[in-house]
């Protein structure tokens, strides 16, 4: 029985929204608000308190993923899937609960993070690779593979702003595909590039799976979820609605014959 790679317990993330709690964009406003606080408090005595409006983007989410499994996370837009990945990638902090991850984490919430348009393809490979967690030697070692995967050999020394959008995406994904962490988070990054390239990406993902790495994949493409994932989870309104075999969970999310929401 393989060990638990990701354990999430009661994870919650609350965001404050609306005009009630206005973000202070100006220092003067914040100072004014602090200065007039006693007056406002006096005025508010006896009146019903207006609580800050807030939403729970994630509420009491708990699950476990073992090493070597691929978990597909599905749900409508705004159901909390990206927030879950952001919390697990440490980009934002949870409001409640906790999570435990065993192994080096690689998180691809967007392809080409950190790409700078004025730098050449070669320079961006190094920059992007370093931001994703590789060190210089590793990038140098994998450089030829990355370039071959992206098929941009001839354009390596051209500035990336002159690349077509397809080339940019291919290069970005090629770097990401070679990061090789133990735990990988993917946020809908597979829906890019042309058909041939997507096939390459899927093949790479299957390789990653057979190497015993753990993957958490957010996707709107039910076919790839059913193809690639060993488990699936349906999130709605920030809560886990269903968990289990991909085909079953997809069926609950989109019953056959119904229109997808």
């Amino acid at each position: 029985m393989s060990r638990v790679a990701i354990r999430v317990e009661g994870l919650g993330k609350r965001y404050r929204i609306g005009a009630v709690h206005k973000r202070h964009d100006r220092l003067s406003e914040a100072l004014m608000k602090t200065a007039t606080a006693p007056i406002r408090r006096l005025r508010a005595v006896g009146k019903p308190s207006s609580a800050d409006q807030s939403i729970w983007a994630l509420k009491d989410v708990s699950f476990e993923v073992r090493e070597g499994e691929v978990l597909g996370v599905i749900g409508r837009n705004g159901s909390g899937k990206s927030t879950l990945l952001k919390v697990l990638s440490r980009i934002t902090e949870p409001t409640a609960g906790c999570a435990e991850i065993r192994g080096r984490v690689g998180s691809l919430l967007e392809v080409g993070t950190g790409f700078h348009p004025d730098l050449t393809g070669r320079e961006n490979v190094y920059l992007n690779g370093a931001i994703l967690g590789m060190n210089r030697k590793e990038i140098a070692r994998k450089f030829d593979e990355i370039v071959a995967f992206a098929e941009v050999e001839r354009f390596l020394d051209t500035q990336v702003k002159h690349y077509s959008s397809g080339m940019q995406v291919r290069l970005a994904f090629a770097v990401a595909a070679h990061v090789d962490p133990e735990v990988l988070f993917l946020d809908e990054v597979l829906a890019v590039g042309d058909h041939a390239f997507r096939e390459k990406c899927f093949a790479r993902l299957r390789e990653v799976r057979t190497n015993g790495k753990t993957v958490l994949l957010v996707s709107h493409d039910m076919a790839s979820v059913e193809n690639l994932c060993s488990q699936a989870m349906w999130l709605d309104g920030g809560q886990v609605q269903a968990w289990g075999k991909p085909s079953e969970v997809v069926e609950k999310y989109i019953p056959k014959g119904a229109n997808p929401a």
Binding site: R23, L109, H116, L119
Partner: protein, 284 residues
Amino acid sequence: MAQSGQEREAATEHVLHIVPSRGWGFPSLRELWMSREIIYFLTWRDVKVRYKQTVIGAAWAILQPVLTMIVFSLFFGRLAGIPSEGVPYPIFSYCGLLPWTLFAQGLSQASNSLVGGANLITKIYFPRSIIPLSAVLVGLVDFVLAFLVLVAMMVYYRIFPGVNVVWLPGFLLLSLITSLGVGLWLSALNVQFRDVRYTVPFLTQIWMFATPVIYPSSLLHGSWRVLLGLNPMTTVVEGFRWSLLGVGRPPGAMCAVSSLVALALLVSGALYFRRVERTFADVV
């Protein structure tokens, strides 16, 4: 005082704990060391991008302090007749401008660094303090180039440094520490309060007049000198002049005060930064 994302290593394992953080803490130095490649690449990126597609390229690094020195020499040296402690005014002011430019540039780059790096902060994790840190380090490249000009000027005026030049790296370090401390404060404040960015040019200008760049500190007496000493850049500038040109007195007590102030800025900046870091991705 729990911190989020504590990493515990058991044998060869690497287990990450993600919990809501509370209270105060420092950026993890260990994490910073492990992310040193990112520091290098972000600095390298900023340096490269600065000079891409420019005609004169790196010469811009030299032009700014040199032109400023010329203007100062004309107006403050000649017109106003400010004394320069025995060395020609141009080299006197340039020697002060050198570390000052490094400091001022560090401040202006750092203050907007987090907002400018929003696309990184919201998409990938690495210790956020790397961003203002690399913004401050970028100025070192310009510093080296401008330093070469200073060497040329010293040859021209036939002023050679004595043994005191060994202290020079110490003053440089003091400058970087101050720059980083204030940079951490400004960058963190700027995420929440965007008008911080607009106060920086003003702040830098006032600070320059509070530092003996244009004038020697011997011009001031008594309690004014003590106040001057509270400004770490005073020690940096005077220290540069003392170790390279041999003018002025060795910094002494003023140096101790300055170092304490610089460390206080760094420590408080790091504490504040770490405290608000958890909200960056949500607010920026």
